[in-house]
């Protein structure tokens, strides 16, 4: 049988990886909040959303998490009136990315919170291993 405390570490690590991928996608969205197209009427940057799925690890008999997909949800772009812009159409309108910085910031906080919780689970498992090892120590 696989050591449950080792399994805890593995599960926690999978959670850390998933949450850091999520943070990366959020950072991409924030960085590209004003990335328009280059030619008139072209599409700007489209917001990306990460989705997770549960995955059963056969050897450890534990529920890992992994990134299911990074999708671009169909949401309409904002339109701004900037006649001098290279991406402006005949009427002077530029299509802007559908990124809302407030939504991204809230998402980032949640990713941060989940990351911390995973870290805490790993820390506790490590502490439990240390406690077991301490039994060997002669006092």
């Amino acid at each position: 049988m696989y050591d449950p405390l080792q399994a805890t570490m593995r599960v926690g690590a999978s959670g850390l990886e998933a949450q850091s991928r999520r943070l990366r996608v959020i950072a991409e969205n924030m960085a590209n909040a004003h990335s328009t197209g280059r030619t008139p009427g072209s599409d700007p940057y489209a917001r990306r959303v990460i989705t997770f799925e549960s995955q059963l690890d056969e050897t450890a008999d534990a529920n890992l998490v992994r990134v299911a997909s990074v999708e671009q949800p169909r949401a309409s772009f904002r339109v701004e009136h900037m006649p001098g812009h290279p991406a402006a159409d005949a009427n002077g309108f530029v299509r802007m990315p559908n990124v809302d910085l407030v939504v991204e910031a809230a998402d980032m906080r949640e990713a941060n919170r989940s990351y911390e919780a995973n870290l805490q689970a790993i820390r506790q498992a490590r502490e439990m291993i240390t406690m077991t090892l301490d039994l060997l120590r002669t006092t």
């Binding site: 399994a7 959670g15 999520r22 549960s54 534990a62 989940s114 439990m128």
Partner: protein, 123 residues
């Protein structure tokens, strides 16, 4: 000597519980994931001791006597989000703290008893 066996079994159960909690935390943002927990340890012990014999066909079986303590069950959760996920991080961290405390207690007991035995054998 019975004590060491109970302590190690309880610690094993706690380790499995910690792994389950870690799985819940890792899947805290997975749509449709339901939080899990292991069967209580008292129940696992009771199942191991109270194996009723079915001498007639009509008797209800009490389940296998050596039921593993790692059987998962659905957890009564504090909240369910829109995505069908019912993992509450606060609840999971609370349980993890509980596991940690019990583990510390067990290892301390084992350590004290070990010291006791060592003291008596030194005479």
């Amino acid at each position: 000597m019975q004590l060491f066996s109970i302590v190690s079994r309880h610690n094993q159960w706690l380790a499995v519980r910690q792994a389950t909690i870690a799985g819940n935390i890792a899947n805290a943002n997975t749509p449709g994931f339901r939080a899990q927990d292991v069967q209580p340890f008292e129940m696992a012990v009771a199942q191991a001791r109270l194996a009723m014999a079915a001498t007639q066909a009509g008797h209800l079986s009490s389940g296998p006597a050596d039921a593993p303590a790692t059987e998962l069950r659905r957890e009564a959760a504090w909240e369910t989000s829109m995505s069908g996920n019912n993992v509450s991080l606060e609840q999971e961290l609370l349980k993890a703290g509980e596991v940690n405390r019990a583990y510390r207690l067990n290892t301390s007991i084992a350590k004290v008893f070990h010291r006791l035995i060592m003291t008596s054998s030194r005479i």
